[in-house]
Assembly symmetry: C2
Homo-oligomer: 430 residues x 2
């Protein structure tokens, strides 16, 4: 008999269906077994009444262990107490495989234990909900650009040179030569924007971060749009519109999951355009109000970002940082040579940076000088300089980190739960 997915069960009221899944939970009371069966699309209560089934089926229901795989036949009936509005009156139950004693029991486990069992932990309601939200965020990100005439241009993972500093690079032997895992697709997107006008890449990026913080993974996904003829203001408009869109999509399509996560959705509903835009100098003033004195020219750390992010009820765009905090490819502010035409977006509720970007240096000689000043090997950047030799134009873009965005939207304390199989300083398994 054809499998009915639990998400579709409401269409079969009064009908006999076959559900295939796993026993998530069970309670019994005399002549009744209440089996919570999950199939990946939802959880439904399957009621086994002794009078309705053979002795064998009732016995099997009694013996069934947590996470055993099962095939349940029964009739769908409305049930007001159910979260999904329906339950199943069981007529038959088969055990596909009787699970051994499930390691993730109801008692509290430490995070290390759960992470070691990540392949099983994914089955829990909470992890399931987080990764469904992640899936929706990824789709929303792609749809946003696909629907606006951007071309997806995948950036390479193997790169011959570093782009964001050399201290956090993963290295591999590439047939006798050194190759590094990409930290950002940006330089490639700049070249691609000159071919396609509006482009984005979306893939894993790597940083050999030795820090154990709640915001760092060694392997994380980033979406990086880049647009020819955009300036910093256009870039901020795009970032703002994009993030508002992604939040709205999650609110529209993943409310049940946010409910499981006990997320305060009112806070997400506030994420409406326009977002506040403040300069680095204004950010310094806000920090000072909060009693924190950052000397001009210093970058913000996690604590300062948290403080700034807490100051607003929606994401804030902080622009024009001191040039010396930022990478060589940032365009200088024509109003003040010490500043860069860059922007970070900090998520509210203390989440901090989710976007970093800005306008890129488009003048050949300036860029050559900056490469030299940063002590970078010019020959490795000749191809990148070509973008300024052959039809250079103003252009801008940014990168949004998926895991930090998932953490913020789901309201999680740590990024480790935002990705199916996290990789961190002390975590390469499973």
């Amino acid at each position: 008999m054809k499998q009915t997915y639990i998400s579709e069960i409401g269409k079969h009221e009064g009908q006999k269906v076959t559900i295939r899944g796993w026993l998530y939970n069970k309670r019994s009371s005399g002549k009744l077994h209440f089996l919570q069966v999950r199939d990946g699309t939802g959880i439904v209560q399957c009621v086994v009444f002794k009078g309705d089934v053979s002795e064998e089926v009732f016995g099997r229901s009694d013996a069934a262990t947590q996470e055993s795989s099962v095939v349940v036949q029964g009739v769908v009936r409305a049930d007001k107490r159910s979260a999904i509005g329906f339950e199943v009156g069981v007529t038959d139950l088969k055990i596909v495989q009787a699970a051994q004693e499930y390691p993730i029991a109801k008692k509290d486990h430490g995070v290390g234990f759960l992470m070691d069992h990540r392949h099983l932990w994914l089955r829990s309601s909470r992890q399931h909900a987080i990764l469904r939200v992640r899936s929706e965020i990824v789709k929303a990100c792609r749809d946003y650009y696909d629907e606006r005439g951007f071309t997806l241009v995948d950036a390479p993972i193997f790169t011959p040179t570093a782009c964001e500093g050399t201290t956090t690079l993963f290295e591999t032997d590439y047939f006798g030569e050194k190759a590094y895992l990409t930290q950002s697709g940006q330089l490639y997107m700049e070249a691609a924007a000159m071919a396609f006008g509006k482009v984005y890449c979306f893939g894993p990026t790597f940083r050999a971060e030795k820090s154990k913080t709640r915001r760092h993974l060694t392997e994380f996904w980033m979406i990086e749009p880049e647009v020819a003829f955009y300036d910093l203001n256009d870039d901020m408009d795009l970032a703002e519109d994009f993030v508002a869109y992604v939040v709205a999509r999650v609110l529209a399509n993943r409310r049940p999951e946010l409910l499981v996560l006990e997320r305060d959705v009112a806070k997400l509903e506030q994420v409406q355009k326009p977002f506040p835009r403040i300069s680095y100098d204004e950010a310094l003033a806000i920090l000072k109000e909060h009693g924190v004195d950052v000397p001009w020219g210093e970058d913000f750390g996690g604590d300062e970002e948290t403080m700034l992010a807490n100051h607003f009820d929606r994401p804030v765009l902080v622009h024009r940082y001191p040039a010396r905090c930022k990478a060589f490819y940032m365009k200088g502010d024509p109003e003040d040579a010490l500043k860069a035409l860059c922007v970070d977006m900090l998520a509210p509720e203390g989440y901090g940076e989710i976007i970093g970007g800005g306008q890129r240096e488009d003048d050949l000689e300036t860029l050559e000088r900056k490469i030299e000043e940063h002590g970078l090997p010019k020959e490795a950047f000749e191809w990148y300089l070509d973008v300024r030799r052959y039809g250079s134009v103003p252009h801008a873009g940014f990168g949004l980190g998926i895991e930090r965005t998932v953490a913020w939207i789901c309201g999680l304390k740590h990024v480790r739960e935002t990705i199916p199989f996290p990789r961190m300083l002390e975590r390469l398994r499973p």
Copy 2:
């Protein structure tokens, strides 16, 4: 003045517009300059008539070099000879940056030269068209699964163990421990399918292939669906329906690009369900008809695949290969222990394998025995064996290689043009 993209120009007939882009080509005849301007969304002819513009603008048009960046103002008018149906009567032209002599001139360049200038080569009509088709294929792949209740579950890139053999692994130092770049997300998808029912991953995968063939890249993208409670037949149904969908989407949305590539679209229009399904044994018989004798038990090489693929007018599914050709996780055929419940899909016109997959071994003891027989370290697979300990179910899936699919759909000889920045044995740059 707001930029009008060339793809939208038909909406502005009779109006004055501003186009920002690059000079793709030019011809002149006395009082007229015909500038082919591209902006990433299309190419439009901009006509500069001496009588319509200042001497300065006419002079600039005369001096403008290939790939210089330009801002053109002018009036959109219908033009029957134009591929896009419109041209622009120029009223003003500004040069943003005058390009140096463009390295990719009209003369024939060798592939090595073009690949060294990949960042510029992307601007050519042909490469542009290929990557627009790629972008469409990627979107079609994701939409297919997203619209059918699959959850995207990103597989990790860093893995502690090999899954497809140890000879083609890229290795990196992971804080003092060895880590390998993933060759497939499959094992992770199997665990995820037990949590979400229907899942897929889509990301870059890596093989340190020392072979220089037209089908191999060291870094390539793969989409890998995996479904709980699917058997080999369900898997073949899914693969067939999926590939037919992707081809139909490209035909629906990327005809102009296929035209640029001079693709015989009639061949793609034949890609309709049902696809032929033959067993390995039947494939042997077909090869024999063609005069090629493959001893039973041997895998097919590129030549045999090409021959089989040429035998049909649409993709062919070849199932039940000898178990000894296939990986340890393949489920044995209950009808014949020497065979595996696996399937490859070979693309027509000689393109060969684009899909590999099958039903997975779901019995704990059998899988433990196979891991031992293959000489694999059991402790590394304990987490994977957990999938058989806690609610094991029949399940199946496959991986589709994006670059080979792009090569086939675009009708390309070599996969190196199917990805923006290809990585091969002797190619790590730009």
